[in-house]
C-alpha cells in the first residue's frame, strides 16, 4: 500500500488558499482606497454640508 502523504496534500492546498486569499484582499483594499475619494466628493468631506 502506497503512503498517502496527507501533509504534502494539505500543504499544497493551504499555500494556494493563503496566496489566493491574500491577492483577493489586496485587490479589495486597493479598490476601497480608490473609491474613498470619489465617495467623499471634491470637498474631501464624506458628509454633504448643509
Amino acid at each position: 500500500m502506497t503512503a498517502d502523504h496527507w501533509g504534502f496534500v494539505f500543504a499544497a492546498y493551504g499555500i494556494a488558499a493563503v496566496a489566493l486569499g491574500a491577492y483577493w484582499r489586496h485587490l479589495c483594499r486597493r479598490e476601497r482606497e480608490l473609491m474613498e475619494p470619489a465617495r467623499r466628493g471634491p470637498s474631501g468631506s464624506a458628509r454633504p454640508s448643509p
Partner: protein, 221 residues
Amino acid sequence: MTGERTMSRALGWLAVVGLVGGLVMAFGVAPREVTQGNVQRIMYLHVPTVLVAYLAFTVVLVASIAYLWRRSPAADRLAHASAEVGVLFTGLTIAAGAIWGKPTWGTWWTWDARLTSVAILFVMYLGYLLLRGMIEDRERAARYAAVLGIVGALNIPLVHFSVYWWRTLHQPPSLLKPGPATMSQGILAALLVNIVAFALLYAYFVAKRAAVLRREEEAPA
C-alpha cells in the same frame, strides 16, 4: 459602473461555488489513485493552475497585439491584469509541483526541461510586471510591455511540448494531448470541475484588477 460591479460580484460568487465544487470533487468524489495514493490529489490544484496560467499569458499575447494595433488603453489594462494573475497562478503551479515532487520523485526541484521552462516563463512575466513598474511614462511602459508580452508567449508551447522534445522526469500532459484521456472517469471529472473553477477565479481576478487599473488611471495624480 454599477453593472460592472454586479458582474464582477457574480463572477466572484460563481468562482466560490466552482472552487467548493472542485474541493468536493477532489477530496470526496475522485478515487484514490492506485500508484501514488492520496498525494496524487495535488494534481487537482497543479494542473488547473498551469492551464489557467497558459490562458492568462495567451490573453496577454492577444491584448498586447490589440494594444500595438489600436493603442487601446483597455487592451493594455487587460494585458497588465492578465499578466499579474498569470504570474500568481504560475507561482502556485511551481509551489504545488515542488510539494508533489518531494514524495513522488524524492526531490523538491530538478532542472529538467519542463520545470526549467516553467521557471523561465515565471521569471519572464515577473520581468514584464517589473518593466511596467520601472517606466514612469504610461504610454511607453504599455508599448514596451506589449512587445515583451508577445515575445514571452513564445515560451508557452515550449513549456507544453518540453516533455515530448526532451527526456524529462516530468510525466507527459494529462490533458491537451492527442487522443482520448487515459485517466479514469472520476479523476477526469474532478480535474475538469477544478479547471472550470480556476478559470472562473482567473476571470474574476482579471476583471477586478482591470477595474482597479482603470480607477488608478482616472485618479488625479
